[in-house]
């Protein structure tokens, strides 16, 4: 069902969701088990199906551990939004990314991963995340603002 390339791709997605690599591997194992027991109807869409399984398993686990952050239901139309292209202008090095990555929520990491690695648009990300497109764009706006603030702080620190 999944070849080595597929498995590495799914493992990267697990790593985007989980903090630690062993947790990501456990998550992938459980997802593969689930996919073997209940295979996708369309084998061509196996990656999308497996990613959905991984996501559901991960959030189920977070709920069991009571560590999931429940965000208030917001009216995304009232919040400032930014398109995915607004992230293109952000310049960041590996150290800064690691620092920012640790401070992001799971949903924020997932959005960045799906956009940068999987090449999904905001509309496609909203389908994967099962939340309105406006909500995704609001999160992007907040992330962009935070990353820009972090960058300017870093610049000031390096100048000093």
């Amino acid at each position: 069902m999944f070849d080595q390339q597929d498995l590495n791709r799914l493992f990267r997605y697990c790593c985007a969701l989980c903090d630690a690599r062993p947790d990501a591997y456990d998550l992938l194992q459980s997802a593969i088990e689930r996919c073997i027991r209940t295979p996708p109807d369309d084998p061509e869409r196996r990656i999308a199906y497996a990613m959905r399984v991984i996501r559901n398993l991960h959030y189920d686990q977070l709920r069991r551990q009571r560590v999931v952050v429940f965000e208030p239901l917001e009216d995304s139309s009232q919040l400032p939004q930014a398109g995915m292209d607004s992230l293109e202008s952000i310049m960041i090095d590996r150290d800064e990314l690691e620092h920012a990555w640790r401070r992001m929520t799971t949903v924020e990491r997932e959005i960045i991963y799906l956009w940068a690695v999987e090449g999904l648009s905001a509309a496609e990300i909203s389908v994967q995340l099962e939340r309105p497109r406006g909500s995704v764009l609001s999160i992007v706006h907040r992330m962009r603002k935070r990353l820009q603030t972090q960058n300017s702080n870093t610049d000031r620190a390096s100048q000093a």
Binding site: N8, R12, Y25, Q29, I32, R94, W115, A116, V117
Partner: protein, 209 residues
């Protein structure tokens, strides 16, 4: 500090180096092979859950067994205390003998109405005690035989032989199981209780200094 690049490029580079190691890859590929053993490759957490469940079952069984043993011991001890008290009280009363004699076979012959056969326990031997006779009595409401002896020091001892239901019999120390008689001190009387050849024995005599 590394050279900054676009966010997308830096994220791509970060994830581009992430891959499953050889063992992990083999495990996941093998798992998808039809007929592959799923047991061997189950996630570690699932194995721990199974181990925990098995350990809990074993601990529960052990605790149930120990609780059963504790209740049996408590029940057996309660029965023996009751027998010791009854036997000591009878010994102190020294009721008249119904049959007198020093010959064991003759005295045994008197007890024809018991629903068990009297046993000459080897524990009677070794000491030069004299048989005086016997009488019918009861232990815990069941007919029994009572034999009276004179000990070498002149004191009297009373030996009881009786029957109990099998369930109660099993609660008492058994010579055949290699156990030693239970020893009680009641009303100033020492009482030894045991079972031998399916018969309950109780020996009562005054406490010697």
């Amino acid at each position: 500090m590394n050279n900054p690049t676009s966010l997308k490029q830096t994220v791509l580079e970060r994830f581009g180096v992430i891959e499953l190691d050889t063992d992990q890859m083999r495990t996941l590929v093998d798992r998808q092979t039809p007929g592959a053993s799923q047991q061997a490759d189950r996630p570690v957490r699932a194995s721990w859950l199974q181990f925990g469940a098995a350990a809990a079952i074993v601990l529960t069984l052990i605790s149930v067994w120990f609780t059963g043993q504790w209740y049996a011991a408590r029940e057996g001890n309660g029965l023996m205390v009751a027998i010791a008290d009854e036997v000591a009280a009878n010994h102190l009363k020294l009721k008249p003998l119904e049959v007198e004699g020093s010959d064991l076979d003759s005295v045994f012959g008197y007890f024809r109405d018991l629903d068990f056969r009297l046993v000459a326990t080897p524990r009677l031997g070794g000491i030069d005690r004299d048989l005086l006779g016997g009488r019918y009595c009861s232990i815990q409401g069941i007919a029994a035989a009572q034999l009276r002896y004179r000990e070498p020091d002149g004191d009297l001892s009373t030996w009881y032989e009786g029957m109990l239901p099998t369930a109660q019999l099993r609660l008492l120390p058994s010579i055949e199981r290699g156990q030693t008689p239970a020893e009680f001190y009641v009303r100033g009387i020492r009482v030894d209780i045991w079972t031998e050849h399916g018969v309950v024995f109780a020996a009562a005599r005054s406490v010697r200094p």
